[in-house]
Assembly symmetry: C2
Homo-oligomer: 237 residues x 2
Amino acid sequence: MTRQISDSTDPRIPHSVSRTGMLKEGGTRLSSFLTSTQRRLLRNSVLFHDGDPQTSIYEITEGTIKTSKILMDGRRQIIGFLGAGDLVGEPFEEEAQYCAEAVTDVTVLCYPILQLEAAITRSPALARQMMQVVHQASAHQMDHIISLGRKHPAERVASFLVTWHANMSKNSCESRTLSLPMSRIDIADYLGLTQETVCRVLSKFKRQGIIQAKPGREVTIYDLRSLEYMAETVFVN
Amino acid sequence: MTRQISDSTDPRIPHSVSRTGMLKEGGTRLSSFLTSTQRRLLRNSVLFHDGDPQTSIYEITEGTIKTSKILMDGRRQIIGFLGAGDLVGEPFEEEAQYCAEAVTDVTVLCYPILQLEAAITRSPALARQMMQVVHQASAHQMDHIISLGRKHPAERVASFLVTWHANMSKNSCESRTLSLPMSRIDIADYLGLTQETVCRVLSKFKRQGIIQAKPGREVTIYDLRSLEYMAETVFVN
DNA sequence: CGGATTCTTGATCACACTCAAGGAGCGTGG
DNA sequence: CCACGCTCCTTGAGTGTGATCAAGAATCCG
């Protein structure tokens, strides 16, 4: 629960391209419209709980955050994993609709939600941008719904790996080796499976030579095509 | 595929409260910002396919529409059921992200997407309203994700009945009897189940005296409390 | 009234979950 | 630096549940 709030530092951040997430930024950064406060989170700490009053929108500059909802008997569904460039929090909502936790050590920029809402009302450009952000989040959720509703376990894991790989490729240089900073349980709770099933699927992929596991939650993809084939079964037209 | 396009008629429509959907309207209607064309769809006809170029946003004034995506081997996931007051289609998207079909005979108002986008850029009030519409759709999708990822079949069906009942109660007068205009297969494809499982769950609810089935796809709810208990297992805080 | 579709129920099967145990990796402290 | 302990990961065995396959009943619609 240790939270370190740094002084309001330079809101400008390095060249990082936006990624799919709960909220996704279009191209211009919020920092060109608003001032922000930087904040650091330790691994496993909570940015906000489900139901907390929303005071800020957060832009991730480093690290990975997971958003989730919990059922009364403890079942958990992870809604998404967010990384550098993604926004966490919803404008025009008084309460948080989900819980946001740091998967790794994380740095975020905090934008007071009232300022953001005022800026949206003032600036059509920002409004349009935020709409696209919300919309892309919605598109991502739609893919998630299809995975959870109609895909087999191996297809879900393949989809997850392909999507995560695409995210990584956008942010850093293209590489076959990904770091999956979240635990197997997190992946399972994202994919609507158990950690054992996730493990077994990954082991099968290893045996088939599609991927190779490395120490430190890293995975090397040897046959991206196979993963994409298993994942992208969506038919258009 | 018979499509009847009526003359541009009075865009004003009766007092119908908005409902949860792909896009949900806040309170003011689009018709106060834009002109529209009315269009009627026969049951089972397609409003647009997945991947079609998007030319319009549609506001449903009567009937029920389902949105879905299909996997290559025929598996189908229904994303949502939309009714009077809901919007179908996404601004700032060139292509439709899903297929929209009429479950019943449907009447919609068509708003040219370019006009809508221009109006959004012009009017911060409309932009804010559209943001909330998109956001509420996203909130609904989040509930869907939780159902699909972590709820048991009976809980999913209960959630569906409760949500649908709430929608109906908002639109018309409060009543224990709902019409479920969609087929069992549609419900199954929405809930990530098979039609047989949906049937069995409904039969169990009947045996338990929670609901009663009536001819014509109608259902009477005798014990809403039980359904809500099964459905609303979401834990906050 | 007849044909087609949809709905319901039953029997069987496969697969993912549960329960359990061992192993690997990591962090901490001596 | 190594040893220890903890957490996380992996694999196995067995079970339960929802999917599949199949047939009959009800309902819709012409």
